[in-house]
Amino acid sequence: MVEEDGVGSSGDTVARAEQTPDQPQPYRELGLKDDEYARIKEILGRRPTDAELAMYSVMWSEHCSYKSSKVHLGYFGKTTTAEMKSKMLAGIGENAGVVDIGDGWAVTFKIESHNHPSFVEPYQGAATGVGGIVRDILAMGARPVAVMDQLRFGPADAPDSQRVVPGIVSGVGGYGNSLGLPNIGGEVVFDASYAGNPLVNAACIGVLRVEDLHTAHASGAGNKIILYGSRTGLDGIGGVSVLASDTFAADDPAAGTTGSGGSRKKLPSVQVGDPFAEKVLIECTLEVFHAGLVVGIQDLGGAGLSCATSELAAAGDGGMHVELDAVPLRAEGMTAAEILSSESQERMCAVVTPDKVDAFLAVCAKWDVQADVIGEVTETGRLVIDFQGQTVVDVPPRTVAHEGPVYERPIARPESQDALQADTTASLARPELSELRELVLRMIASPNLCARNWITDQYDRYVRGNTVLAQPADAGIVRVAESYGADSGDGPERGVAMATDCNGRYTQLDPYAGAQLALAEAYRNVGTTGAVPIAVTNCLNFGSPEDPAVMWQFSQAVRGLADGCAELGIPVTGGNVSFYNQTGGTAILPTPVVGVLGVIDDVRRRTIPGIGHDTGESLILLGE
């Protein structure tokens, strides 16, 4: 309800929150549970301001806090031995895992999901998915050198597939191609369970010198926080629009009103990508890295500045003070909550010592990248954010970034599982010999087995000239030194290989074995190119964690993957969890996409895929 005294243009402030402890807040609309809201009040000793509520709600969301998966993901740590870790420079918890591949080179790689946005707006959802994973890799101090995409669609002939499939494919291509990153592989699977919930997972590989490894942290009181890249706009704000101050109440009477009074009309939660801006952001960021101008760096992805400021501050040793008025905006009249929640793309946040600020800004100017000092590191231990002369956020940063709720969700093996497993192929009719030809033709023409060229022909696999293997190979390979821009000399050229795999049907039949099969397939695919597998990442796509059957699938898959990695002796260096992938009450097939990274010492010795290059070749079957 709108207060009699109204709200100033700066909106809700800490001072005001102290004076109005009982003002109702739309925390439920923002996805917070009653007890979560109560905990925020307890942490702060008062009600949160609108801006604080926006921050907590987004940072404590499933997507950012891993609140349902955390207790299970811990198993990866338990099963990773010191020996498995020996080449790991950064692991779970960092933006992306980093492994040492020798001679001072390191490789970072990660897969992220962008499933829901890609259903709403296929082109932009997929495009910004690629943009987001690339910034993750960039934030580690690495030059992004290749991308891959893992796609799951509803039936190829379903009407909505005609909107979703071309849109997503051209979005992945449109962004990656414009960025100059070769696409070196991926997957496409059609299944009815993805009809209302396609999966768009995007992977990126980056290369760096070991000494250039950057982690996201803000330390050193007095160091400046610089926001650089695109301006901040109203895109991607989605749910936070329920917090908009009453200044906008009259804007659209039809818009849903909420507990905090009127609201700005419902804003689209769609972000629009600008790959050109990202391309210059990459070059600009690598230049400030190499000039030694940054202490810490963080990409702005989901949760925008809320995430960047709280995570940087939480990982540092002090606090942080931010002046939101210094954030360059693209829209007029944005509130503090909106600025903090905006998911405008192509932005990064850097921590820079005061003496290097001018040099940092000069590099940005060279690349025509907007850059502004928006705050500094402090010794207060608190994240304090001011807007229009008032304090709108004053929180302990760790409580936002890392101390979100953790749930032990109920787990139950579904009763239907036994029947599912009992339903084997034994009951299927065996084709007559005379039907075999027709059967083979039908199979190779089926959407799940036919050639992928319609898709892969829309992706640039040549750009930068370092792609040694891409489609139709089972794993992609790029050479390392030249991708980075270094001269590889005359000797052998080291390369890095990556494959990703997952079979959702197998995983549904047995989540533990299914995850292991995905791992084994990706491992084999890397191995058959001539590369040695060294590390694993994943993107775990599942239904609702509130469904005990889904949680069972999830916990089984995590255990299967972790045990499999321990068996193979290679570590999981990171991953991503995407829950709530379902249409109505029906979950997607459990889809734990597993990515395996490998190293090949001399790319000229890679194995070209396929058989039949020469007549007289022998076929040898390995294994049972």
Partner: protein
Amino acid sequence: MARVAVDVVIKPEILDPQGKAIVAALARTGHPGVSSVRQGKHFDLEVDDSVTDADLEEIAENLLANPVIETWTITRLQDADAPVAR
């Protein structure tokens, strides 16, 4: 037969990278007086008389524009046969 123009523009709150690039290029090439450019699409349709305004609305919404990020205006021009200032 009638001529119809449909102009599709990106919603104001949504980033228009095209427009941004053009403003910057204009400033560089001696046209600093252009403070904002939004790039959209322009469609010239020729429709027969059976096509109603409601049809046009549906065509714009379902095919010519993406309602998630764009808005549009529909303008019926004079007869197709009459020359159109263009």
